[in-house]
Every structure is written in C-alpha cells, then in structure tokens.
Symmetry: C2
Subunit: 131 residues, 2 copies
DNA sequence: GCTTGACTTAGAGTTCACTCGAAGGAGTAG
DNA sequence: CTACTCCTTCGAGTGAACTCTAAGTCAAGC
C-alpha cells in the first residue's frame, strides 16, 4: 500500500491534484482507521489511466460518469453498454486530435524547412545529415 | 475583402474570438475609413494557421511573440532565427502530444475490444466486417 | 430623414482544471 | 513529552482562453 505522497511521486502528480480527483469522484482509495488514504497497485493503474484520459482532453465530468457507471453496475443493472459508449465517444475525439496534430506537424515542418531554404546559413537542427 | 462576420463563417470562429485575437496581437486586419475591420485572403490564411497552433496548444502568448518578431523584422534586424526557435519548440510539443495520443488511442481501442470479448452480443461498431 | 442591422469598444463574467493556504490531527523518533 | 513530518478538510485563489454585455457608431435601403 502507498501513501498519497508515494502515489504523487510514482505518478508525477501533486498530492493536491490527487485529492482533487477524489473529490471529483474519479478515484476511491481505501482509508486507514484514522482516515489516511491508502492506495494499492490497482488504484495506481487506474490513476494512470485517468491521467491519460485527461492528457487527451477527456473532461473530468465524463471520467466521473464513467467511474459512476462502474460503481452503479450490478446483477440487475449492467452498465457495460454505457461505458462502451463513453469510451467510443472519447476514441472519436482522440482520433480527431490525432488528425489535427498530424496536419499541424506537417505545416510546421514545412515552414521550418522553408526558413532553411531562404536562409541556408542558419545553424541548429538541419535536416539530419546522418544516414 | 471580407467582413468580420464572413471571416467568422469561413473559419468557424466567433467574431468575438476574432476580435479577441486581434486585441492579443495575433491578427492585424485592415480598417475602412470608418474603422470597420476588413480581411483579405492572406489574413484568413494566417488566422487558419493561428487556429491550428491553438488547437495544438501553443499558448496565445507565444503566438503573439511569433507575430511580434515578424513585425519587428527589418533590414538591420533579422528575426528569422528567433521565429525558427519558436517553431521548433512548438514542433517538439506537437510531437510529444502525438506520442501521447497514439498510446492512449491504443489503450482505448484495447479496452473497447475487451468489452466486446466479454460481451460478444453488444451491438454498435463491431471491428469492421468490410474488406 | 429614419430605421435596421452589423459593426465598434472597454471591460466584466464564465468555465475548466487545477493550485494553494490555513488550521488542525495522528504517528513516530529521540 | 516534544518535535517533526505527513496527513486531513474546507474553501478561496489562479490563469488561460474565451464569452458576453452594454452602450454606442455607421452605412445602406426605403
């Protein structure tokens, strides 16, 4: 089991943020008798997944819904479909972001090499000489 | 020449935001005698480039610096190197975002197909039957 | 000449996701 | 026992990027 400061180090996330995520309903660590948060490997894995979702701009609100669906799932109420829907929705967004980034990467690369063409004397990263 | 509302339509950006970008020093349209903004195709192209940079999380502040360098450029003060540095810096960021997105896309796709494995009866986007 | 609708400005308000601060409690080392 | 560190909560503050409001100006059509 890990303390919040260990989780903070392991995931490179401030303790403040980890508590904030808990308050927002994204994370449910165990507690000691005295109320201290205790995290196991599964909690860490989940947090890492959440951080990935955030890094790809899934809103906290939607992640909360996803978590809530997990916790609402029971024998007579299966939430798999709803969770799937949320995942697929985010997948679509991620792919859109990928497309946008790829286009922009090309534009920037193009602009950079046009600068090099106009100013052949410029130092710095030249189109790699190797190979 | 285009009015702000035409630019708004052409770039799918609110007139508010376009004026805001101008206030932030990202955009310098012409003005009529009475002070009405007038945009030409070059302005539109530049705005589209700015929107790309924004969509890939280049801060407005940095875009402003980039624009300012253009306008500061003169015969005895060439700013090409500084502009190149800004572009290369953003290129690095874009590539990092690409890597993150690709990883996350894989994770989500994996999770989605594991849902499908567990619930083979689920409707919706199945791993495409075509081809 | 007057109405209409798009335009102008400065500045205030909103949203999101943190980020921090203050005040205090629990467990451990000396 | 005392000092120290890490933990707790609640609530306020921050920063970026919009987003909107209010009050007013201007040009075109009737």
């Amino acid at each position: 089991m890990y303390s919040i400061s260990e989780v903070s180090r392991l995931t490179d996330t401030s303790a403040h943020t980890i508590r904030y995520y808990e308050k927002e309903g994204l994370l449910f660590p165990d507690r000691t008798a005295s109320g201290v948060r205790q995290y196991d490997d599964k909690h860490i894995d989940w947090l890492r997944f959440v951080l990935r979702l955030r890094a790809t701009h899934m809103p906290i609100d939607q992640i909360r819904q996803y978590v809530a669906l997990f916790r609402a799932s029971s024998d007579d109420h299966d939430t798999t479909l709803d969770r799937l829907a949320l995942l697929e929705q985010h997948q679509t967004l991620v792919r859109a972001q990928l497309a946008e980034l790829q286009l922009t990467e090309q534009m920037i690369t193009e602009k950079i090499s046009s600068y090099h063409r106009l100013h052949p004397s410029i130092p710095g990263k030249q189109p790699s000489q190797s190979r």
